[in-house]
């Protein structure tokens, strides 16, 4: 049975959703602003027969995830920006070894230790691979609340479907704000598809190994990379997710994701009273980026305004999608400051006028 409507912060929401999605193995290391997630699971996992380990580092934690994944379990780790940097090596190995797992990043300000305030400055890291090698990880970007539940479930399903790590990309605000959510019923672990590749000992079959090092002299690694790319192409074709709002008859389309999209939505609604008709295009899968959908939309609308909680990362994907079909304007707020809808509204007014007061026109 689904849960009652509950009031929980975003980190706890992801934790409960993970448990209900069949995750029984969580490994993580404390870092603000996502500590409520490991804290929640440290209490919750034993209640459902699961395992919580506070690793000695982010590096150890992601490698425990690797081990639990290769053993056939649904498994998760979480962190915030500096900690996610430390996990990159393990993510690259898991991509090479084709191991499913969910990695949660509640982003904070950077670079370096930065601060502990919400940010969206890890877009490049999340969508471009993050570590070494030719690989991709699907990235789902909830805008908080119920979507944290739904996308946590989806993240585990995508990870298993494609045997690939999947990132859930939130931020420190989303992790700490309390919102009402409803949880679906617990997945019965017996209903999950069999992982016939997992390592459980070789009883009744040949022994096998799972590894990422491919040294052969006959182009074996070349072929492995091509096989991975085929998978990434399939994901790109089948797993794009986005939402549009107020897009019909809009003179301007605002592109924003996550927390930025919620601020932008308020700004868009405020501007209706002034007769400015702006629509919202919210990418939900950041990789694969919903490029064709945004391209189609930009054919009808002369101006695109991109708003990010960083100094311009997703805007590069917007440029790739829109090209010269529409004018592209950008406004970004770095360093963990959360702008008000009024500030974003100023940017949108300025974009409509083309006066350059807030934001800047992107060269394409």
């Amino acid at each position: 049975m689904p849960s009652e409507k509950m009031l929980m912060n975003g980190s706890q929401t992801v934790g409960e959703a993970a448990v209900r999605a069949g995750c029984r193995y969580y490994f993580g290391y404390p870092i603000t602003p996502q500590n409520e997630l490991p804290e929640y699971l440290s209490a919750r996992m034993p209640e459902v027969g699961g395992t919580f380990i506070q690793g000695e580092s982010e590096v150890a934690s992601i490698n425990m995830v690797l081990g639990a994944s290769v053993a056939g379990a649904r498994t998760m780790t979480s962190s915030s920006s500096p900690g996610i940097s430390l996990k990159q090596e393990g993510i690259s190995y898991m991509a090479g070894m084709e191991l499913p797992a969910v990695i949660v990043n509640m982003m904070r300000g950077g670079p370096g230790l930065g601060n502990i305030a919400p940010s969206a400055a890890d877009y490049f890291q999340a969508t471009r691979g993050g570590a070494h090698g030719d690989y991709r990880t699907p990235v789902l970007a909830p805008a908080g609340g119920q979507e944290l539940v739904d996308l946590t479930f989806e993240a585990f399903d995508l990870a298993d479907k494609y045997r690939n790590p999947v990132m859930l990309l939130g931020d420190g605000l989303m992790g700490q704000v309390m919102e009402p959510v409803v949880f679906p019923d617990f997945i019965d672990l017996k209903d999950l598809p069999e992982k016939d590749w997992a390592l459980r000992g070789c009883k009744g079959r040949e022994a096998r190994a799972i590894f990422s090092m491919i040294l052969g002299q006959q182009g074996e690694l070349y072929r492995h990379n091509l096989d991975l790319q085929k998978k990434y192409d399939r994901i790109t074709a089948e797993e794009q997710r986005w939402e549009t709002k107020y897009a019909e008859d809009a003179e301007l389309i605002v592109v924003a994701y996550g927390t930025a999209a919620r601020i932008a939505e308020s700004a868009i609604e405020d501007l209706k009273a002034e007769g400015i008709n702006a629509g919202l295009f919210r990418p939900i899968s950041l990789w694969p980026f919903p490029l064709p959908a945004l391209r189609e939309l930009s054919k009808e609308i002369p101006k695109v305004a991109v708003f990010e909680l960083c100094l311009g990362q997703m805007v590069e994907d917007v440029i790739l999608s829109v090209g010269e079909r529409a004018e592209i304007y950008f406004h970004g707020v770095p360093g963990g400051l959360i702008p008000t809808p009024a500030e974003v509204a100023e940017f949108l007014r300025s974009t409509v006028k083309g006066d350059g007061k807030v934001g800047r026109r992107m060269e394409v």
């Binding site: 000695e56 994944s69 053993a71």
Partner: protein, 257 residues
């Protein structure tokens, strides 16, 4: 009248080893260590329940030689990966097989904390005092005065620090129940090593805690010595820094006998 001679098989390849030639250099200790691990798994009936984690280093391709399930770990992370595997399959047998660079340098944190948590894992630690795979660089276990490609004038305590005795460090961790150091360079020590490996495996089967067997292992290639000289060097020089014998045993196995 039958003239058939009855043959009795007295020696063969353990089932836990594949029929593959190894890439190890002549005189290297890895082949002996592999065989000991394989013999112990066979004799204890564990092969089909085993998941092994090799290191990054000379034994990175151990899955080509061991005939049981194995998963690669990033350099130094074998015991973190093994922790994940063991927590999912507490009823399976999980071992790591790691070199000194993997276990005592880049993986020191993972090693200490997996041991201290008392993970039910058996670690086989190959100490050859050098980085073999990468071509002879200084290891955390390189002896004072020993030459390495990154210590061309020999290891100097002031410059490079002392060789690390990680086995003794692990012995003070609460979750560790058994640590023994053996060598792979005399018949007597090889037999002792096998006994120690078996005991380590038994610790895991009995759910006692973490255990580790350190094996001093010759590396003629990177020590730039003939095989015989390398083996003698283990027996005469290496043992001065790394004395052989039991380092910790809280199993109570002997008491029960």
């Amino acid at each position: 009248m039958s003239t058939e001679i009855e043959y009795k098989k007295v020696f063969g390849r353990p089932e836990s080893l594949k029929d593959n030639p190894t890439h190890y250099c002549p005189g290297c200790g890895h082949s002996i260590a592999h065989r000991l691990v394989a013999e112990c798994l066979d004799e204890m009936g564990l092969r089909e329940d085993t998941i092994g984690v090799p290191p990054v280093g000379c034994a990175v391709l151990a899955y080509n030689y061991f005939n049981f399930d194995m998963v690669e770990a990033p350099h130094g992370r074998a015991l973190a990966v093994a922790t994940g595997v063991k927590r999912v399959h507490p009823d399976k047998f999980v071992l790591t097989y790691q070199g000194d660079g993997d276990l005592a340098a880049i993986g020191a944190a993972e090693t200490i904390h997996a041991a201290n948590r008392g993970e039910r894992i058996s670690a086989i630690f190959i100490n050859n005092a050098i980085y073999g795979m990468t071509g002879g660089q200084m290891a955390p276990t390189t002896l004072l005065g020993q030459n390495a490609t990154t210590a061309p004038r020999g290891r100097d305590a002031r410059l490079h620090g002392q060789p690390i005795d990680i086995s003794s460090m692990l012995a003070i961790c609460g979750g560790v129940v058994f640590v023994e150091r053996c060598a792979l360079t005399t018949i007597k020590q090889i037999r002792k090593a096998k006994k120690a490996i078996k005991k380590s495996f038994q610790c895991q089967l009995d759910d006692l805690g973490f255990s580790l067997v350190e094996l001093l292992s010759p590396c003629p290639t990177n020590w730039k010595m003939p095989v015989k000289a390398a083996w003698d060097w283990v027996n005469e020089e290496m043992v001065k820094t790394y004395p052989l014998g039991l380092i910790k045993d809280t199993t109570g196995y002997e008491d029960k006998k």
